[in-house]
């Protein structure tokens, strides 16, 4: 539970492909809808999907789903499915969603918080994130 008494969903987002980022946005929305706080720790490929550079094109699907990816992308477009980033923006508007950038990844790649879109709230070390995650009701690694 957080300081405000709300239950918490903690997600470590390691993957940066569409197939994994989609559920991140949807699960965060569901948690917010049910009155939970959400903390998302973006690391490695997950973090790169939130870089300003990556915003020109939607994230690619994992090679595991290469055969279905074109069909899926078309359905998403047809049905106006919002991008994972749009979904997270909505979740943030309606609830307490904090998005953390992994300091270790940033150090490795020589990145600063400025390299990422504004949706990313802060930079956080793994120890600090564990402090948050250990009190979470639900913890997911994506």
């Amino acid at each position: 539970m957080g300081d405000n008494g709300n239950e918490r969903l903690a997600m470590v987002v390691f993957s940066g492909t569409m197939d994994r980022l989609m559920p991140v946005g949807i699960l965060a929305s569901g948690a917010v809808a049910m009155g939970m706080d959400v903390d998302i720790f973006l690391t490695f490929w997950g973090l790169q999907a939130f870089s300003k550079r990556a915003q020109g094109a939607p994230p690619k699907f994992s090679a595991d789903y290469a055969d279905m990816a074109p069909m899926f992308a078309q359905v998403m477009k047809q049905k106006n499915v919002p991008s994972p980033i749009e979904t997270l923006k909505t979740a943030k508007k309606l609830g307490n969603v904090k998005i953390h950038a992994c300091t270790m990844t940033m150090d490795l790649l020589g990145q600063t918080k400025d390299d990422f879109i504004d949706l990313v709230d802060r930079t956080t070390g793994v120890g600090e994130f564990m402090e948050l995650a250990k009190d979470a009701k639900i913890t997911l690694f994506v």
Binding site: I26, S29, G30, A33, M34, G35, K79, N80, V81, P82, T90, A91, K93, L94
Partner: protein, 81 residues
């Protein structure tokens, strides 16, 4: 069933929206309205059938009714707090 007397203060047409879009649209609308207002949300999304009543209960509002329409459902919610 919704009786004809219940008039929605606000209608949210979320029929083009997939899960969890209609629920999120409803939450946003309820937040903006006043206590006592009635919000109707249209949704063609299957998840809404369970998610919306669950949220309404959890958030402490009143589900006035759910009406089946052609190809979608209308959820009528009264903001209680």
């Amino acid at each position: 069933m919704v009786t004809e007397e219940v008039k929605a203060t606000r209608v949210v047409d979320a029929r083009g929206s997939v899960c969890p879009g209609p629920l999120m649209a409803l939450i946003g609308a309820v937040r903006e309205q006043k206590v006592g207002d009635v919000i109707a949300v249209y949704s063609g999304d299957t998840g809404s059938r369970t998610d919306i009543p669950l949220w309404v209960k959890k958030a402490g509002h009143e589900l006035v009714g759910v009406v089946d329409r052609a190809g979608y459902a209308e959820f009528v919610v009264r903001k209680m707090r």
